[in-house]
Assembly symmetry: C2
Homo-oligomer: 264 residues x 2
Amino acid sequence: MRIARYAREGQIHYGLVELEADGGPHPQTVADLTGDPLVGPVDLTGARHDLEQVRLLAPVLPRSKVVGLARNWAPEADPPGEDDFPEVFLKPNTSVIGPNDPIVVPRRGPNTVLEGEVAVVIGRICRQLPLQRVPEVVFGYTIANDVTMRDFLAPGGPWGLAKGFDASTPLGPWIVSHLTLAQAGQLELTTSLDADPVQHGSTAGLRWSIERQIAYLSQVMTLLPGDVVLTGTPPGSCRIAPGQVVTVLVEEIGRLANPVVAEV
Amino acid sequence: MRIARYAREGQIHYGLVELEADGGPHPQTVADLTGDPLVGPVDLTGARHDLEQVRLLAPVLPRSKVVGLARNWAPEADPPGEDDFPEVFLKPNTSVIGPNDPIVVPRRGPNTVLEGEVAVVIGRICRQLPLQRVPEVVFGYTIANDVTMRDFLAPGGPWGLAKGFDASTPLGPWIVSHLTLAQAGQLELTTSLDADPVQHGSTAGLRWSIERQIAYLSQVMTLLPGDVVLTGTPPGSCRIAPGQVVTVLVEEIGRLANPVVAEV
């Protein structure tokens, strides 16, 4: 299923996105749900809307955290050993925006870059999770753009400003809940700046696989339903500027596009 | 006022901590409130309990973020200039524990250290806040221990694991809402490991003053009610080990004590 969060007539809803009847590539309707599927059981309300008639929002607003892995796209590297640890950073929920929402390049951060990623949405509280139980806690997958102010990556300093500023975490367009971990580990991703592809890779190139990321993180911190894990970005991250549009396309998930504007 | 969050008979309450009638130094009762003062107006319910009969919890569980400033205790340094920026890191709400809750030293982090701090609790949503309006958004002050796994501070790497692990952010014992910013900028802090004082300083030694921290952060990220800002730790941060007790004492606020245990 494709689970979307959307606004319509001033209300926020969750819904299932359905493909057009002829099996074409473009989802066209959203079937309204009775509540938030990350919080409890839901049912269809029976209402159905044209996808063009609603405003898609970030499919999840984490109650706790967005966790990201740095420098994790390394197809040629050995898999991590017993004593290795992933390079982990945090982004606050105040940085999350939805599809088509503007990425605001801060006045203080002219060297702001795009980072297209596959994101994992956690569905169940977990801690100290063995590798083989990771599938039980994955709610689904969505697309993220881990926008970063490189200006604030001082050597040896923390990354809170660089990664935590408002509108730096576009998420969407929806959560795909039907992929297996094996399928999620083989997704092709392409990030484009306007019409130009700038990043391309497959999640098969992640040094820390999705499965190992989730298991490792759960050794250190409790993961909660709605937490989001940014799995790593392929090479090609580049500067973005007001007036451009960043599009991250991931097969089996969809397309996340956001215009870039200047901070006023 | 001293605003506490506490558990009693399986329920979570907020309450006002009251000094004993003779004006002695030890608060003794808590007067129950109708709700969460960070969310909306509250009133006294009329119930009052002996402080020894309730379990104090972290006085706030942030819905969004804990933000901290690194290397910010520098009494001899010049105040930051126009182009300077504070060294900012994030901690997730899953790292927050309350007074007397155990700090769990991770198996993977034997070099885990204490960092006693004064913490600011934000009371109002804000963004792009001018310096002179900072007092309007400060709900109050509490004490924090920014426990850190130094093992995970790889050079040039992000600090997510080092600062984000479970039980790494003791907060409490309550929020003091009656201090002015000027008073908060003159607080003496002492951290002790068992009976030995290891850190001592005054918030007058913060390079980025509390006022400037909040104003700066609000330029970059939206601050929400319940967000917590860790203002910086004095010199003397040192390793902690299972069996020890860490106590952070801040004048005008109180005393935050937490035992240290090993991860099992």
